[in-house]
């Protein structure tokens, strides 16, 4: 559990403070940059290699990357309690903020200005999500097999509105099988594609 974390483990209070600051100051897609800055540069809890390993694992697993990172890091630093503290500290500021906003919003939900403001925010959020998907999917858009898997998933969920319980296991299983380990093949093609991050 303590592999990768150097020197003496920090106190639970320290873990709580660092992640509460992250949960308060980070916004949207930028969380990973904030995490690296805090965990690698400032606190020196992890070296770069370990951070990248944690990040890749967090991205592969379901759930939010930032929350996955927080609980995994907390667990490596202070075990199960560390995981709980890090996750809660990361989430609670945002939860309190958004619930407060929700309470402010409710009485004015039908006001013209509120509809206009939130309509504009939602439209900008579409752009944000689209740009994120395009950036994250750069490698996948260029490979025909990946593009096919991607389109089938998007169509089944976005257009046919099929439940995830069906789509993800079925398409996922087929996709994993298509990429199944083959004796002899060392996956150089994939290694090349994966080896060109920004």
């Amino acid at each position: 559990m303590s592999d990768g974390s150097a020197i003496a483990p920090p106190s639970l209070l320290r873990v709580a403070r660092v992640f509460a600051v992250l949960g308060t100051t980070s916004f949207g897609g930028g969380v990973v940059a904030y995490l690296r800055d805090a965990l690698v540069e400032k606190e020196r809890w992890f070296d770069d290699r370990e951070f990248v390993r944690l990040l890749e694992l967090s991205q592969t697993l379901p759930g939010l990357n930032a929350v996955n990172m927080a609980v995994i890091a907390g667990d490596q630093l202070r075990g199960g309690r560390g995981a709980a503290v890090a996750g809660l500290a990361m989430l609670l500021p945002g939860v309190a903020f958004v619930l407060g906003l929700g309470a402010l919003y409710a009485p004015y939900a039908n006001a013209g200005w509120m509809t206009a403001l939130l309509g504009g925010a939602a439209a900008a959020a579409v752009g944000l999500l689209l740009a994120t998907a395009l950036r994250l999917g750069r490698a996948q858009f260029r490979r025909p097999l990946d593009l096919a898997i991607l389109l089938v998933t998007a169509f089944a969920v976005g257009e046919l509105r099929l439940p995830l319980v069906w789509v993800v296991p079925v398409v996922g299983a087929v996709a994993i099988w298509l990429y199944r380990p083959r004796p002899g093949a060392t996956g150089t093609q994939d290694a090349q594609d994966a080896g060109t991050p920004p």
Binding site: G30, T60, L61, P62, L91, A123, L128, L164
Partner: protein, 177 residues
Amino acid sequence: MSDELAMLAQLFTDFATASLLAIGGGSAALPELHKVVVADTHWLTDQQFKEIYSLGQVAPGPNMTMVAVIGMHVAGWAGALVTLVAFFVPSSLLAVGANRLWRRLEPWPWLEAIRQGLAPVAIGLLIAGVWLLARLAIDGAPTLAIASVATAILLVRRVSPLWLIVAGASVSWLVSG
């Protein structure tokens, strides 16, 4: 009372399922969440779903804390607690578990196949999330323009998403007169 308990139980199951199956991050869960609270149950309208998602965009910290607001609208404080726990706890347990087993998982040849195979599924789910949100949010020339400009700006340079959201809201408010 039993009605409310049944509703909370359903919220829990549906939100936990959405979070565990939406590989590729929070917004990949949007279509499933919309299906659960709007299309299937009519607990929220399209408009409310869209607006609550927008509120979440200006909150600090990880994305998708807005599930608490959905829970609050559907079933009060109990609903907020249930959606939060369901959306964040099971996936966190899975993450910690996978990391603890990492040494044993790492040499497993199927691991790379899983990573390679699920990557396009994750992007596909994200695209489905974009598609859903676009259908809810783009209702005319102004919103189409805001979404296009936001996309273009983000593809060219890295700006804080918060500023884009605030700018989008301001422009829309100004245009609405």
